[in-house]
Symmetry: C2
Subunit: 389 residues, 2 copies
Amino acid sequence: MKGFKFAGIHAQIKKNDQKDLGLIYCEKPAVAAALFTRNKVMAAPVILGKNKIKQGVCQAVLVNSGNANCFTGDQGIKDAIACSKMVATSLGISEDFVLVSSTGVIGANLPMDKFRTGVPDIVAHLSKNHVDDFADAILTTDTHRKIVKESGIIGDEKFSIMGIAKGSGMIRPDMATMLAFICTDVNISALDLKTSLSAANDKSFNRITIDGDTSTNDTLLALANSTSGVKINDTDSKKIFQDMLDKVCLELAKMIVKDGEGATKLIQIIVKGAQSEQDAFKASETIAHSNLVKTAIYGEDPNWGRITAAAGRSGAHVVPEKMDLFFDELPLVLKGQWLGYEAEKKAAQIMKKTEITITLDLNLGKELDSFWFCDFSEDYVKINAEYRS
Amino acid sequence: MKGFKFAGIHAQIKKNDQKDLGLIYCEKPAVAAALFTRNKVMAAPVILGKNKIKQGVCQAVLVNSGNANCFTGDQGIKDAIACSKMVATSLGISEDFVLVSSTGVIGANLPMDKFRTGVPDIVAHLSKNHVDDFADAILTTDTHRKIVKESGIIGDEKFSIMGIAKGSGMIRPDMATMLAFICTDVNISALDLKTSLSAANDKSFNRITIDGDTSTNDTLLALANSTSGVKINDTDSKKIFQDMLDKVCLELAKMIVKDGEGATKLIQIIVKGAQSEQDAFKASETIAHSNLVKTAIYGEDPNWGRITAAAGRSGAHVVPEKMDLFFDELPLVLKGQWLGYEAEKKAAQIMKKTEITITLDLNLGKELDSFWFCDFSEDYVKINAEYRS
């Protein structure tokens, strides 16, 4: 995409030889919006970023993996500022326009000597063709890079959105962190970008779960550099842009779930017929987080009792005798009645697929919500029980 | 205990040859109080029991394992009533004074023919010496029976409380159910018994978690038959009775957690120094439910980052720079500062124990709360992923 450059290198922050330092550079300052973790234990780069993003402008983003710069106190803040300054100096831009982002071990200070050599090095590697390198450098125990590209047309002009994410591969030894960076060449105001990003986030990253834990470092950042000439300034263009941003975010979110630790299946739970939006949210969220549901899915068991019981404890208004439950298109419970062993055998066949949609119709109203989640395997336990070394 | 009789037999409800039908009989109608699951998907015996217990009297409780009589519609209610009638007829007592309780497979109807032969059979087995049989008959995949007995003195007279529970062994194929029955020989009003039971429950069964799922059948029932002559009717006697009831309930609750599927360790998380009771509850509850914390404990990893981060996302007011964290008596974080590798090595030694107390001091106020929980192992996944057969 015109005007964006990327780089990813191994700066020896990680002990293995994988890439661990990434940089996105906009030739001109881009309009920027970001969303951060709601965890009150926030990493230093998140504390800084929340403040810096208020100006709605960003020209460079430095991302390291291997160290979260979290629970590092004043030193952590000083280190994050020092990193920003290094990037600004090496690129010859204002430090105000540099954001930093980190993911990895909690509680250890950043290895600043690695940044002092790494930052000039990575600036030298910037290229519009190095998106893959950047995408690799932000990974932790993800098993593959996550990039989504989409293009559209508004008026007669083409515009693009590219998203790059890392997911819930587990940072050894700490917690899963979701980082996602969106680059687009449209001309949009910072306020509109923030609004669009929030809306897309609610339908994607806020509708996925691996294990229900929220990282201290989660960050979703969007950069819009205007190079396409496409203006997002009226109802029609906003709708086209929103649809595409939704698509990019949802695709990235699904890639993150699929690549969850130990995950073997990608499940969408749809709760419909709820009396209120909140009920639809509560029921779908509780089902998606239930360990009993997740282990049953790993066992390829269409365990409708666990799904309906999770809805029952969710706080949503439910009436067991009104519930319908479907595995893909197949009904297994209708009006609270289990359809018997033959139906269950068919459902068990559907459970063998790697992508499954489960629909719970509460038949009480018109509201709907949905979550994407993965199953829960012995490997999740193994990955997360390993002693930090 | 005088005036109580028990029985437990194999009535062929379970396919294996384990006991599956239990009965408690009070020679005279006992004062009774009960608490039931808050899940809106409720089993038939829970629906019936909630209504019947309002009279505050009970003389017999029939409990079966192997079938939950849940999601069984009108037939389920009819079957539960039919079971009550059989017990009343066999014992020659009023059906109004009979409660039934079930735990097991969801969605299948009760095998009524087994009850028709089983109920007269179990009545013939009643004896004050058959507590163990009853305790065995209500188990599912629990690995051992759970009985707690305590005696005390009020005035010059001795009184006793006995509790019998089943825990979160997994009913193949469905969900964990907690059933607990308390027998005591004191003279107490139904209202006071309910108040005491609620208070004890809040400090015990409501402060434990295996996997965060709530069963459709959870039941806690107390029976007081007055045979000791001890009256619980003033501040002093109420306090003595409450303390002992708390002790019995907490002991049973801890036995349930220790025997959680795949559990290898029993952990108490204490959150203190919270600004409000609600904050202390939220933070301790979130830590106890975190899969990342539970897998780290299984891995004997004193992973303070996961514990503090769980507190951070709990919704409680927390300030990372004020947090102290202890493993048993050992501090690992003080005022938000990690104490380093040497302290962590010592904490790792503590993690090798099978019972560990973790204390998080928020240093923001005076409120405290606590949860008991178990770790999370590959065996939990294996037990719960097995296809129903």
